[in-house]
Amino acid sequence: MQRALDFDKTPALGVPLPFFLNVPLFALLAGLLATWAGSQAFASRWNGAALALTHLWTLGILGSAMLGALLQILAVACNVRVGAIRTVAGLTHALLTAGTLLLAAGFLGWWPVAWVGAAALLGPAFALYLAAVAWALWQHRRQVYKGAREILVPVRGALAALACTVLIGLVLALSLGLGSAPPDWIDGHVLWGLAGWGGLLLMGMSFQLLPIFQVTELYPRPIARWLPLLIPGLLLAWTALEASTGLPRLMRETAELLLVGAYALWAGVTLRLLWTRKRPTPEPTTLFWYAGMISLLACAPLWIWMTHGQSPRAGLVLGVVMIAGVLGSVVNGMLYKIVPFLLWKHAQDAMIVPDHDPAQARVYLKVLPKMATYIGDRPARWQWAAHVAVIICWSLAAAGWAPAVLAAGPLQIVSAAGLAWNIGRALRLYRRTLRAMAALPHHAPAAQTRGPLRAGGRE
């Protein structure tokens, strides 16, 4: 399996960074909305405030981070570079951000015109992104790094699942917006989005990134080879069974059970790898991975509760645990690796060593901070604790516990503010570093004229 990344293929910092900056912003919006909506936010999954919150999370927080990270990882881990990447990323980011805000507003105010408008923004955003990435995967299929298959198989599955999720979402939004009865495809929309797009992408990233950044052993080969094939197969089987009439419900539940089992297996293996990693002290990112995988294991009993219990709240709790607990934890934790790493890398790229002189390189090394200093360990651990409190509180709120409903919004604001502060601190240090480098006597003026966030990287 591939265990090396080629950072020479890193896209410019302006490609992924705006997507990552969306995460704390939308997290803050979700906190404000949950505070404002109060009990309405957790009354039912069909409530307007709950739907708005759900899409702030899935599109604004998770979608932004995952779309940005995928552009990065395809280039450095697979040698798949998306053409016109700045244009694709810029347009996708703008349309996604505006479309998500409009969709959330549409749910809050129950405005049909906003749903149509959101579909008109989000449809092109995802179509452009998917077309550009699919074309890049096809165009560079012969240059893909040997050993990158373990990443590309789940990535292709995740992208196909994203296409299904978006298509269903567009049909639902346009049906609602244009006043016709929407088809009963909502469970499919949720399943393809969370278990397909979200789950498969996380799985693919874990195969590559945990051994490199968490110093774990490699995933067992059968897990890395077969789970990314099994999960899309189960999603297809579930969809066929859901669409067909006359077949017993038990068959669809069996497909769901196998899907739950497949993800529980991945979570169990991941926890074991993290537990036996070569570094005994967990870093903040390790703690987020623990939170994500424990949440994933918790989805199994919650699924049983939802399927065989009578409470309509079970589905709401399961949704909260999957979105905030599983996907939210891993995305938040990965930001603490990927953002400092990108800033460290681009600061390295901004070095200009005259005449290949090591003495000059030494001068630079004195002003270049280490990656670990971009985001401090303690503030990141503190934000992790706030995030775990959010998972627990939101789950209890979804289960109907009134005190948790009151605390859910403020806690989310605290967690989002912590994340924003930590990322902001990293960006401030990066700017200071570039300024310090620009002040060095041998730093060429051309390198410092394109703004404080200028850095190397390729188109």
Binding site: F7, F213, F341, H356, P358
Partner: protein, 76 residues
């Protein structure tokens, strides 16, 4: 005069990019004629670009369980 003895740097079991950071620190203190021998779990492709930029030569060999990267400064 005999060149100074090789420096050995063992960065196995360190997460990215700590091996690179340790290597760059060690290179900053490398004496003329001295070589750095780095033991690492995976081939450090990103390091090669930095070495080229800073005027260092390198060679990499696969040992039993790790890679051995030898780095020296070739002042021409």
């Amino acid at each position: 005069m005999a060149p100074p003895p090789d420096l050995t740097l063992d960065v196995r079991s360190l997460p990215a990019p700590e091996p690179l950071e340790h290597c760059l620190e060690a290179l900053a203190d490398l004496a003329p004629g001295q070589r750095l021998r780095m033991l690492i779990d995976r081939e450090p492709y990103p390091l090669y670009t930095i070495l080229d930029r800073d005027g260092f030569q390198h060679c990499c060999t696969l040992e039993d369980t790790h890679f051995l990267v030898t780095i020296w400064y070739d002042a021409k």
